[in-house]
Symmetry: C2
């Protein structure tokens, strides 16, 4: 038997079901589910889905279709005709079709849709007779010509017009001119006659511009449309979107061919988009927008401001529009009933599309709805409470990126209180952002390259803007609603976004935006509060968010019940330690001993450190170390105390000493004076510390070996702090970490010094024991390979994945600027390995080190303290590899807690 | 049964044999062999060897001996007494003993020896009666006191006197004063009475200085001596020597206790040292030196100039002394007969010690003789010809270090012809050297640290000088013969050395040396010709050596018959290619495309390269590349031609571009002019190329990806060169090597460019094929781990072990100065990994890469092109890991050929 290429749905039955997303795409599978599932059997216009396999076949076989496809297509058309009682291309009751894409994963607006397929010179009269509305038919026909000529005859044919010279633009100009001529404000002001004439002009222009007649055969139109949808899978913007979203290019799209229903068949018709709960804040209310006498594209395009479906859906902009529940109570009641059944059936918030044709409700689409982070957490908690889902499912419902939104910066309320918004719009993406105004996607990209933050300001966005939207800090549009392209995309990314800011007057030629008489130009600063929809002039102060969010804490508590990995934080001061505790950190995974000297109000300790570094003789250095000691001990003690017995991994001095040498002459002179040497001598010493490749130079344990007195002082500061606290009955657990190790003998050497100090301090304080561990960072490839021997000396491992990535790739993190962009753009590598752990290369070294380390020491404690410790994929990796903990910057701790829980659910404990 | 701690030899029998070096030490095993082997049964004074296990026991057990040792010792003494008919400590015919160290591996002069043990107040009269020579007995007694008080009572007791305040020095002063008082020139001028009085004074001084009586009991003396030998194993200078020679510290020494025979018992007695062949040049003549009426130490110490044993042993210094074959023909004949038997028995050149007591010959020692490189090769070739050894043995006879001596620099004969030597001495270590005069070991070390070459000038060297000898370029002594300490040590290291330069008058206090009225001071330059024994004032020109050495070539031909690995050379110019062929290289393993621009007489090509690098726009760069192209092509073509079809691995441009930016302002201005931009702009561009860690920056393939036009030009230069030569019927085989790869996609990207050029050039020249490969360097840890995938793209691998070592250790080669010394000194690592391949860490990455690479591509060609390619241990490693070739600098090619052959003999093909 030949492979089944087409799956039918409609008339209360369906060949497929909701689980068949891989084959039927998301839209096709959900249509089948809604049409055919015994508990649903919803009113779906009948239709069929051509599988994603056909798409793959199409691309693998020089754009040919499987041999049986035509026959299958014909049979399925017949099936639709039978259910609807209409004929495709027929002269009595013509059947019109929609042709839509539908990939496994939603790619909003990235691929093509053609509506009203089947309208021809022959079927138009029959359609007029059937609908009794000539204007409606010619409106549908001009839409078909516009879409088809653009999508099929131009794009899919590979014709690349100059900017603004595309067929669609040319047709729009003709229509614009006609409206001007007729004094028409809206499309709806054009008469049937106007539209009929317009269609003739359109077809002439198509012939002239594209050199081909507009097809006048229903079946030709259908095949043209199917081909164009398949072709659009590899369109430029679809590829760009998949690259950003990491959707595999080999998946392919399905094509959904479906009987048309018309929301634009007069006042008894409407079309709308809705969410079973509010996707912006998670409230459990049916939420949606609709337009009377319109086709679906009108809602999404944002050309008319949509009306609320109910009181919960009202906004400042739409509050004066008539609610659907008031306007068409019967249809609304049915819709509300359906959305409730659907949410229960799917156990999730759904995004649905519907059309009302002459007061009859039709469902056109349902899918799991995108939501922002705040809504996502709210819904997960609510649905858990409602027993719609279990706690495991609740944890899986929130992505790390969504959680991150709760931790997004917001505009400082104090700054906001003092400022007056210059404009208000729809709060489409939460959080705050400040940046330079840019008006095009390219400008946003240019600013990003130049390291400047931008806010993309547009009339409305379209799929061509995707890259610029990504590159900007936030998006501001003059038009469009909460379900417009800009809102949809921004919501998906958790990006700050304000849409439908109608007061905005954008002049693209002058690159200015005017609002209430005030004109701002490209490059000017603005600030957005995406949570409220407020636009401010200038740069307002930003605040970190999320720290004391109730929902966030409730949600993370659920995560903590599931996760196995401990989550620590990197922190270098007692203040960091306190913050870490508030973020739910279970210890400090990286306390960089030298960082305590940075950013102090008093420069005294930093000066002492510098003095130590610039010492030449052992005597000089010992004296300087003695002066430095009390400062170091103070911070260590306070940090240990704040962490209440949780492990505090204290890394011994690490960076090349030259980093601490002051750059200013005045500071150097001061040092010379303190050291009692000449200025020239200090300059000489500073110069002597300079290195060709400091990242691989005299640093880390190499300093401890050449200057054992430094290690000795550090150990003393740690043990005395711990001993004093122990005497005060405070629990402490310092873990002394030796950095940049490449050989077990290095640890052996340092341990001898550390253990000698330990004995001394223990005796001095009359203690039997001071709890502690001595371990090492694994950040040098050789150390990873020699982990078994190294574990013989080290009591714990902590992976320093920043350095390990540097050495494994031979990439200096500070110098990747010259090539990393090109590497990512050309697809040489898929991710910046400093952001996402390279599991192939660096990951293998880690796996080797874990395996060998535990061979060398049973139950060896293993953690990670690089930036990757807060990256979800890397956290999952650490979970799978049996780490004890991950450690990351304080603001990443919640992400890590979620990722650690999800790792358990994905890979088991 | 208790473990046997003592092995007896003598009387034609022996408990041990020559193979038992581990247990009996080299000396003990050979004494057993000579005494007991049925084919030898040589005249050996009877004695016994206390095993190295006892030494280990002694150090492991707080200097205690195994319980049974005393009893065994007593039994063995009885055995000696039985054979000799003498009694130890007896009053009739007293037995005197020598106590000598003897480790598994020879450590000349590093451990202690005590002679004449058993002389006491009680045995002296008996000894006088037995020998009939009072003077001889008191001379022996004063020697015993000097040695014993120094070695046992002071050193082994751990007493550390101030410099020149040691007991030995004090006794020497007493003797010196006595000689002065008596007007005695030599020791032999002192009478029996003088010596008797001297012994009394000596014993008084010993008591006074060391606070203990000199022991007057034979057995006490024996145990004291045994303990002192064991103690000396861990003496400072023995440890230093083992560190240099890489002798394991755990081996331990044996102790040889043997009946004394006396070379100082009058005119019928003598003692000497000889080699079965000349150790300085390999001539097949018995060669040695002796002294009449002397003890062994006199020959080695160099206090008297020894006489030649035969005409072949004559030197300028000794030619007037009486030959042994003339003076004692019977003893000589027996000795000559024995040395022949011994050489045949051992199939090697031997170093022997003998003593003639009252015209009776005794053999005291035999061991495989140290020889310099020239002698080593000569002997290997001769013995092969004589069928004494097979070709495999011949190859194993020469160490890579010895071969290196044949490649040592020599003084330019032209410069020598124009100069007059200021002094002549014995040519104890071949080759030439120039350096600053230093007079102490410490000075030599100081000069070395300061990066200056020194020549150590001493009256005579002693074991305390070892480190300074190592640090200096060459050694020059005023006293001592070819078997003196300086000669022995220098020979072992292949260091240039002249000894016995009697014209030298050294004033240590003024730090000057005067020769024939001319005074040179510390820091002045001198030049030595160690092959001739000539000393020149000033710095003479040096020449590379060995290129056309007949013996060397003959020897290497034998190596080539055995080795499996191919040996290539690194070379960057056509001249290098020609030199490579003359050195026997089988291809060029590393042709660094950018190196052709260095050191040219004309700066034109370098200027063009700089212009290319400083280009900002693609247009500018393309223009510069076009100008650069003819220069690049010319050198590539000439190199390919010179290599006659051997593989030439051409590495594409590698270093960070900033390296090529000129430093001088004038040059920068010139560039600005050529590029038609402002000086400020050029300065800005130069600055833009600067990186924090250039070694891990924008270099290698990263340049090829960001500037594909560079790769394109390089590929064109290579393929056009190859095509033109192919047209001229010249065989060529370019191997295009992509550097600094970390991901297979990098190679894929570059190959696309290269293959496009290939097709173009092929078509242009109308060729069906241009032989070539495209491969990569493996020098980044990630690349080693991902070798399977990388081999999918790369047609060969060449390990860049310099960079691989840098990244694996996180050691920047340019920045190890700050800690490497400390690392080696403290034994954190045993070798500088940039000199000797780190087989544990870097080696594992290589093993992984070889295994995975060959999995990814069957029969993948694998080589090495780092500096390690010429390091013997690394060559053996590459052989074991199945490499196809090693590549090294031209002067290391002979070493690599030898090492490759030895690898086959050690590890199989």
């Amino acid at each position: 038997m030949a492979k089944k290429n087409i799956y039918f749905f409609g008339g209360g039955k369906a060949d497929g079901n909701g689980k068949m997303k891989e084959l039927l795409g998301g839209k096709g599978a959900n249509l089948a589910e809604m049409a055919g599932h015994p508990k649903l059997k919803l009113p779906i216009p009948p239709g069929f889905t051509i599988t994603t396999d056909v798409c793959t076949y199409y691309w693998d076989n020089k754009r040919q279709y499987p041999k049986t496809l035509q026959a299958e297509n014909n049979a399925n058309i017949k099936h639709i005709e039978k259910i609807t009682g209409k004929q495709f291309g027929g002269t009595k009751t013509p059947l019109l079709l929609s042709v839509r894409s539908g990939a496994r994963s939603s790619m909003p607006g990235m691929m093509e849709t053609i509506l009203n397929v089947g309208l021809t010179e022959k079927t138009i009269p029959a359609m007029i007779a059937y609908s009794g509305d000539e204007r409606f038919v010619y409106d549908a026909y001009r839409r078909l010509i516009m879409m088809y000529s653009d999508v099929v005859m131009e794009k899919a044919a590979g014709i690349e017009p100059k900017e603004d010279q595309g067929i669609r633009k040319q047709l729009e100009v003709i229509m614009h001119n006609l409206k001007k001529k007729r004094g028409a404000k809206a499309d709806t002001d054009l008469t049937a006659k106007d539209l009929k004439g317009l269609c003739i002009d359109f077809k002439k222009t198509v012939k002239k511009v594209l050199g081909k007649e507009f097809p006048d055969n229903a079946m030709d139109q259908l095949w043209g449309s199917i081909g164009a949808v398949f072709a659009s899978w590899n369109g430029k913007r679809a590829i760009a979107y998949r690259n950003i979203e990491k959707i595999p290019h080999k998946w392919g799209t399905a094509v959904n061919v479906q009987a048309m229903v018309f929301g634009n068949m007069g006042k008894g018709s409407a079309t709308g988009v809705a969410f079973t709960r509010n996707p912006g804040n998670g409230d459990n209310h049916f939420y949606g927008e609709y337009l009377v006498n319109a086709q679906g594209e009108d809602v999404v395009a944002g050309t008319r401001t949509p009306a609320p479906i109910n009181k919960f859906s009202k906004t400042d902009h739409s509050k004066h529009e008539k609610q659907l529940d008031k306007l068409m109570p019967k249809a609304y009641k049915e819709l509300d009933n359906i959305q409730k059944r659907l949410e229960k059936h799917y156990s999730d918030m759904l995004d649905i599309e519907f059309t009302i044709e002459n007061n009859v409700l039709w469902m056109l689409q349902c899918r799991v709805g995108k939501r922002n982070g705040i809504a996502s957490v709210q819904m997960a908690l609510d649905m858990l409470k409602e027993k719609l889902i279990k706690k495991e499912e609740a944890v899986m419902r929130v992505t790390p990126d969504q959680l991150n939104e709760l931790l997004l910066p917001i505009v400082d309320p104090k700054a906001e209180a003092k400022s007056e918004p210059v404009a208000k719009g729809l709060p489409a993406g939460p959080g705050g952002a400040a940046g330079h105004i840019v008006f095009t996607s390219q400008e946003a990209l240019d600013f990003k390259k130049a390291g400047k933050q931008s806010i993309l300001v547009r009339e409305e966005t379209n799929p061509e803007d995707v890259e610029g939207m990504r590159a900007s800090e936030a998006i501001l549009t003059a038009r469009g609603g909460m379900t417009s392209h800009a809102a949809l995309v921004a919501r998906g990314w958790g990006k700050c976004c304000i849409v439908g800011c109608g007061d905005l007057d954008i002049d693209m030629s002058k690159k200015t935006m005017t609002v209430h008489g005030k004109t701002l130009k490209k490059g000017d600063y603005i600030t957005l509060n995406g949570t409220k929809g407020f636009v401010y002039e200038g740069k307002l102060n930003m605040l970190a968010a999320g720290e004391n969010d109730k929902n966030l804490n409730a949600f993370l508590s659920i995560c903590d019940k599931i996760k196995r990995l401990k989550v620590r934080t990197n922190g270098d001061t007692p203040a960091d330690a306190e913050k870490a505790i508030s973020f739910g950190a279970q210890g400090i995974g990286l306390f960089r001993i030298e960082h305590m000297f940075y950013g102090k109000t008093s420069e005294k300790p930093l000066f002492k450190l510098r003095k130590m570094i610039m010492s030449k003789s052992l005597d000089e250095r010992k004296k300087a170390l003695k002066e430095l000691f009390p400062y170091m001990k103070k911070d260590i003690k306070a940090t240990l105390k704040a962490m209440k017995g949780y492990g505090v991994t204290i890394r011994l001095i690490d960076p090349p000493l030259h980093e601490f040498v002051p750059h200013s002459d005045a500071k150097l002179k001061e040092l010379a004076k303190a050291l009692k040497v000449s200025n020239a001598e200090v300059a000489k010493r500073a110069d002597g510390l300079r290195e060709s490749n400091p990242m691989m130079g005299h640093r880390g344990v190499r300093l401890g070996i050449t200057y054992p007195e430094i290690t000795e002082m550090e150990a003393r500061a740690i043990f005395e702090s711990a001993a004093e606290l122990q005497k005060e009955k405070v629990k402490v657990f310092p873990e002394i970490m030796i950095p940049v190790t490449c050989h077990q003998n290095e640890i052996g050497h340092q341990k001898e010094i550390i253990k000698a100090v330990y004995k001394e301090v223990k005796a001095k304080f009359g203690l039997k024991k001071i709890d502690h561990l001595v371990g090492t960072m694994i950040e040098i490839p050789r150390a990873a390979l020699q982990a078994e021997k190294i574990a013989g000396e080290a009591e714990f491992f902590s992976f320093g994945t920043n350095d390990l990535t540097q050495m494994s790739f031979g990439f200096s993190r500070d110098d990747t600027g010259g090539f990393m962009g090109e590497y990512l753009e050309q697809g040489i590598i898929t991710d910046d390995p400093f952001q996402t752990l390279d599991q192939d290369g660096v990951g293998e070294l880690i796996k080797i080190a874990v395996k060998r380390g535990r061979k060398g020491r049973k139950g060896l404690k293993i953690g990670i303290c690089g930036e990757h410790g807060g990256d979800p994929e890397s956290v999952e990796f650490c979970h799978r590899e049996g780490f004890d903990y991950v450690s990351c910057s304080p603001f990443r701790v919640p992400i890590a807690r979620l990722s650690a829980a999800q790792a358990v659910l994905k890979y088991g404990k």
